[in-house]
């Protein structure tokens, strides 16, 4: 559907380097990366707002690399929605249809339909200044969707919203995608948002794509430590692969079978997601790659989660997360300074060479 091949461009001191991506028809791709990674520049390049230095962009099999934005049929929704302040909601949505010189009656029908779908019918006569963030967002979506774009490009669409509206619109985006079937290219720096929405995730940093794939694939096999960090993994252990398992500062990790490593690999990095670390392990032995005692060296209680830092006698520390419920259910709630039994699951571990 949308395909980028070795796209390179520079804008001031910023550079996109050899960006290749493929978004299938009807897919929901989330481009995840920290701020300054070049996500918006990439989105605007796809939309035709910046010229590429080299590489090609294809849409529906046709090359669109040098097509002006108005001929690409891609819908864009910006973080702050960019609604035209001198027009009503109705006029905002009608803008593109009027440029296409559609008959008035047809425009009215299309707008009625999309307004009903997005539940913004009562807002049609209002000015954008009088809308809440969530309402503006729906109007911006309606304005783009009413033109039936090949791809909907969303630039951090949920970042400017409060927590409540964000959760609601996140589900809404999923519904739009499911019911309209439009291909979506969504950029964000929010990990939760990415995993909640994406069929496919692409990770970006410093103007290059580090890895793309299904969310589960990226979780299982992060290509390198940067990717692992971007998807929220905080624990990295240096490890030496031997026939008996992986040897780390914590001791031996039982991983059988060990994944195929290139001949002569003497050092790897073991990544451990927070959810693989269990306090007071009580399941069957074969679930765990490692068990032992550790000391609680830090404990931060948030509104739903509790972050805990555990330190081994070797000085190696790891971070884990418990829900408040799990902490409350413990017979003896843990506190800083306590020594606790810890189990690290086999599930969730991955090896970076």
């Amino acid at each position: 559907m949308l395909r980028l091949k070795d796209v390179t461009m520079s804008l001031g001191s910023f550079r996109l380097t050899n960006v290749s991506l493929h978004v299938e028809q009807g897919a929901y791709l989330v481009l995840l990366g920290p701020s300054g990674a070049g996500k918006t520049v990439l989105l605007e390049t796809i939309a035709g707002l910046h010229r590429v230095d080299s590489g090609n962009i294809f849409l529906d099999g046709k090359e669109i690399t040098s097509l002006p934005p108005e001929k690409r049929r891609l819908g864009v929704v910006y973080q702050d929605y960019a609604l035209f302040p001198h027009m009503t909601v109705y006029e905002n949505i009608a803008f593109g249809l009027r440029l296409r010189k559609q008959p008035k009656e047809l425009i009215r029908q299309s707008i009625t339909k999309i307004a009903e779908f997005l539940e913004i019918t009562p807002l049609l006569d209002r000015r954008p200044q009088r809308l809440s963030g969530g309402e503006k967002q729906r109007v911006a979506l309606a304005r783009a969707l009413v033109l039936r774009p090949y791809v909907l490009l969303l630039d951090e669409p949920l970042s400017a919203l409060d927590q409540y509206s964000r959760n609601r619109l996140r589900r809404e985006l999923k519904r739009i995608h499911r019911e309209i079937g439009v291909t979506i290219f969504h950029i964000t720096h929010d990990l939760n948002e990415a995993f909640f929405l994406a069929d496919k995730i692409a990770l970006m940093k410093h103007g290059t794509i580090l890895q793309e794939g299904k969310p589960a694939e990226i979780h299982e096999k992060p290509r390198n430590q940067t990717v692992a960090e971007l998807i929220g993994i905080k624990n990295f252990l240096e490890a030496a692969p031997r026939s008996s398992g992986l040897h780390t500062k914590l001791g031996r990790f039982e991983l059988s079978p060990l994944p195929c490593l290139p001949e002569g690999t003497s050092k790897v990095v073991l990544t451990i997601p927070a959810w693989s670390i269990e306090l007071l392990p009580k399941r069957q032995n074969q679930i765990y790659a490692w068990r032992g005692k550790m000391k609680v060296t830090d404990l931060n209680i948030g509104d739903e989660q509790v972050e805990i830092e555990l330190t081994h006698t070797s000085g190696q520390s790891v971070k884990t997360v418990l829900s408040r419920r799990e902490l409350a259910k413990m017979f003896n709630p843990v506190a800083i300074g306590d020594a606790v039994q810890v189990g690290i699951w086999k599930q969730g571990l991955s090896i970076i060479i």
Partner: protein, 257 residues
Amino acid sequence: MKNFRLIIGALGTILILLVAVPLVRMIVAADPALLRATISDKEVLTCVSLTMRAALWATLGCAIFGIPLAYALARWRFPGRSIVQGLIDLPVMIPHTAAGIALLMVYGKAFFLGKAFSMLGISFVGTEAGISLAMAFVSFPFLVNAARDGFISVDTRLEKVARTLGASPWQAFFKISLPLAWRPILSGGIMMWARGISEFGAVIILAYHPMTAPVLIWERFEAYGLKYARPVAVLLVLLCLAIFALLRGLAAKRRSD
């Protein structure tokens, strides 16, 4: 704290009085009979309407060339941009009689440009066209700078979204950028117009005749003295005040939007 407010307030008041007292005195001291006579004085009316008309032509002419320039300055980074910006601010700084001399040297018959225009039947010396030209030269910064700030205040993403919705660059300009920057452009235009009306130095070098209102004031002051210059001055000041009130009204409406 109390002293602080008092001193700040006093200093500001002195400056305001510096401007307000002469204006108020001039208006209050005007002899109503003489003022009435002035309003019905044909020469005065001809001069005032010529002044307003010439300033309007200057403003409209500059709008055609100045609004695109303002847009370019607001949106694009190009080599020589800061030089262009400096040139725009220059007319405010140089003496306006010097500006008049410079214009005379280019649009007078001694230079090829003046010759070329006179072959087309357009002369700038001693004509209404010349008055407009002199007004434009010294007052266009008001329009261009206001328009530039107006365009800067329009989020570029609005233009970008318009493009993705199917607008050509021209359509995005006329349907989004221009309507959104309209008010600052209009108030810049009114400012330029008012500044054009009050221009004396550059105008008198290029065209003593036909006489604009400021030139007429000067002439009556020179020929008949203060008493006869004053009513014309009062009339012109009142006119400018009315324009200024209009401008302030527009600006206030903009803030409340």
